[in-house]
Amino acid sequence: MRKKRLFWQLYSSNFLIIFLALFAFTFLVSGSFKNILLEQVSDDLQSRANLLYEEILHRLVADSVDDLDRFVVDLGEKAATRITVILPDGKVIADSERDPNSMDNHQHRPEIRKAMHGEVGTSTRFSATVQRNTMYAAIPVKDGDRLLGVLRTAVPVHQAEVNIERLQLQIVLGGLVITFLAGLMSLYISRRITRPIEKLKQGARHFAEGRLDLRLPVPDSVELSDLAEVMNTMAEQLQDRISIIVQQHSEQDAVLSSMMEGVLAFDTEERLMNINSSAARMLRIDAEKAKGKSIQELVRNVGLQRFVERALSCDHAIEGYVTLVGDEERHLQAHGNILKDGEGEMIGVLIVLNDITEIRTLENVRRDFVANVSHELKTPITSIKGFVETLLDGAIHDKADAMRFLGIVSKQADRLSAIIEDLLSLSRIEQETEREHIALASASLRDTLFAAIQNCQHDADPKAIAIQLDCSGDLEAMINPPLLEQAMVNLISNAIKYSDERKTIQVTAEVTSEEEIRISVRDEGFGIEAEHLPRLFERFYRIDKARSRKMGGTGLGLAIVKHIAQAHRGHVEVQSTPGKGSTFSLYLRRSVPDEEQIPTA
């Protein structure tokens, strides 16, 4: 069934009620009006008859028929009333309109009959005589107890009927006007009733659409205002709850996305339910598009696929390692645990990934360091031990050999001491940097750089290598001159070692920004392949072990440079093209704000 609008229901029923009431009213009023009018006419007729009574009686008693007829005609004309006198046998003896002799016997007319019995008779009917609806009133004319005749008066009721019709028309017209006006009022009232409901409906629709911040207007009527208030309260509570949920959700999101660990949730069919930004970054996944895809589609990594599978088939937390093979290998530590819903039903697994590549690298560096130190120390000691044993075995007696062997022993002991010296200074710089013991003062760079070059000059001269210094005398930086000198010596002597004869080494100090000064050492040497560059500043990292040792390096020079840079709150960089040469750059601060913490190495 088609639903009607409340407004039309209200309006149409109102209208119908008004219409019916008016209709009934009109019907009743016009009916009773007619009765009243006719009664008036009949009363009028009776009183006229009563007025004539004496005259007629007088003439009947006198039995002067002619006189009676004349009187009747005369009076009838004057009173505009038809007057008839009838004898008890029904014979008409006088009539104001017609000749009594030509008239029928009136004995059986209802009003006459009543009058014959001594009562007042009235009747309304069509008169053949006057051709109109006529009302008759008849009274008996008595002389004492003897009935002498009947006096009848009559008037046409036409006028009364016209009056009644006019009245009915007025009533109907008035009724229509009232109906129209009442209709308008009913329209207005219906509107007034339904408009607040309409507004409530709109408000509720807004709520349904989620615009819970809107409030319903409170209407005047008690029922509707209660309803509106209840709905407003409901909206308020809903809004509160939703905002709590949204807040919790965004908190969770924030927690998840700010986590360093990658978090992924898979359902029981290995499809992704949720992923945080770290995981998306680690696995190079577009988090937006990833939801709902299976692990096989998302990550082409067998280790992780297997891990998810294993996590799904295990009822306890599991741990494992996954290696991602991209441009370089990345090592992830993975934790997997089952996800359960409120009823304890398993809905999937949660995978937490931890990038441990750095840790692995650090572990490797440390392991390498221990291995390297042992190796570096062992080589000279083996050599020393070997030659000393040879000497003890008798070679000491051959003076020439003994001198040569002792020379080697001395050289190896120097090397040993150089390594230990470097190790000590490295650890000292490290420790002092940590404890902030290294004093930095604003000093001229040129003096320090010049001293370093002077120091290296005796290495450069045999190879005819020119060292050029480009540094303006007023350039100052926050430095520790002895440490900076050591770093520069290391860099310059490296440059000398790895350059052919008659090349040039350029030492430049320049201001690169408001806070930074760059000191660079550029050589025209052999250069370094790109793959070695990231590890170049690690302790004992050597590109070519044999060559480096032959050159007398300890493998610690660049590590020391790096630590000195860190002690100056700066950093080091290297650019190199194999075959063309390398540039090592040392970045220093021009001034150091007091409140700043020294970064620990």
Partner: protein, 249 residues
């Protein structure tokens, strides 16, 4: 040293196989996911072998060789699943086409796995000439091949015919590089006959890589076949495939 190349013993292979059996794919979607698993395996192996070439990292090479057994077991298992699916009679036209294409891609992936293993063996043989520089052509070839394989597998994951066609169009680049490697190796052998053995290893690597790229192209073609129902091999690429045959001989 040879013992390191030994394959998994038979019990390991049986275990792997049984594990695969348990995960039989009874619907096209499961089959697809299994195929993606195989592709993950193969891509990882290919990446490792390129890593092995670039960094002369024999550990990576060894892992590729060790991992090839799993690839083989997975390949067999997928093939069996395909047969079961075809027999089931529940497939519509597109489904049958899909399974047929999966059969081909499966075989192609297995071949890529084998070739990655071959490359790794060569890298291990190269180990003794560690200090020498690799020609940039070879490194470029390795990068291109790897990127073609990755893209064709991406196309497989997303069933993306546009990406797949792009892969097919790149086959030519790899062929050109392989040709350049051939010229380079010939010239160097003539110039430095002492390095002949090392140079032949390099040429082999180059040829294996070129064939991996060919299989990547095949996979991409089959992706187009699944997605569009059209067989695009031998159409409009005849000129290139002939020159590629001449190089293989």
């Amino acid at each position: 040293m040879r013992s390191k190349y030994q394959r998994h013993d038979i019990s390991v292979r049986i275990t792997i196989y049984a594990w695969m059996k348990n995960r039989a794919a009874h619907t096209p979607d499961l089959l697809r996911r299994k195929l993606l698993q195989l592709s993950a395996h193969v891509e990882e192996n290919a990446r490792r072998c390129v890593l092995a070439i670039r960094a002369r990292d024999w550990q990576s090479a060894q892992r590729v060789i060790d991992g090839d057994d799993e690839v083989d077991a997975l390949e067999i298992s997928i093939e069996e699943d395909c047969v079961v699916l075809l027999q089931s009679g529940t497939l519509d036209d597109a489904g049958v086409r899909f399974v047929v294409a999966v059969l081909k891609i499966n075989a192609d992936l297995e071949r890529v796995g084998d070739l990655a293993g071959n490359v790794s063996h060569r890298v291990l043989s190269l180990g003794q000439y560690d200090q020498l520089l690799l020609p940039t052509e070879l490194l470029a070839l390795a990068e291109r091949t790897l990127s073609m394989l990755t893209h064709s597998l991406d196309a497989l994951v997303d069933m993306d015919p546009v990406l797949a066609r792009a892969v097919c169009d790149r086959d030519h680049e790899v062929n050109v590089l392989n040709r350049a490697m051939y010229d380079l190796v010939r010239d160097r052998i003539l110039a430095t006959p002492l390095q002949t053995e090392r140079l032949i290893h390099l040429l082999s690597i180059s040829r294996y890589l070129e064939r991996i790229a060919d299989y990547a192209t095949n996979i991409a073609e089959n992706v187009v076949y699944i997605a569009e129902g059209r067989i695009i091999r031998h159409s409009g690429r005849t000129a290139r495939s002939t020159d590629n045959h001449s190089e293989r001989t």
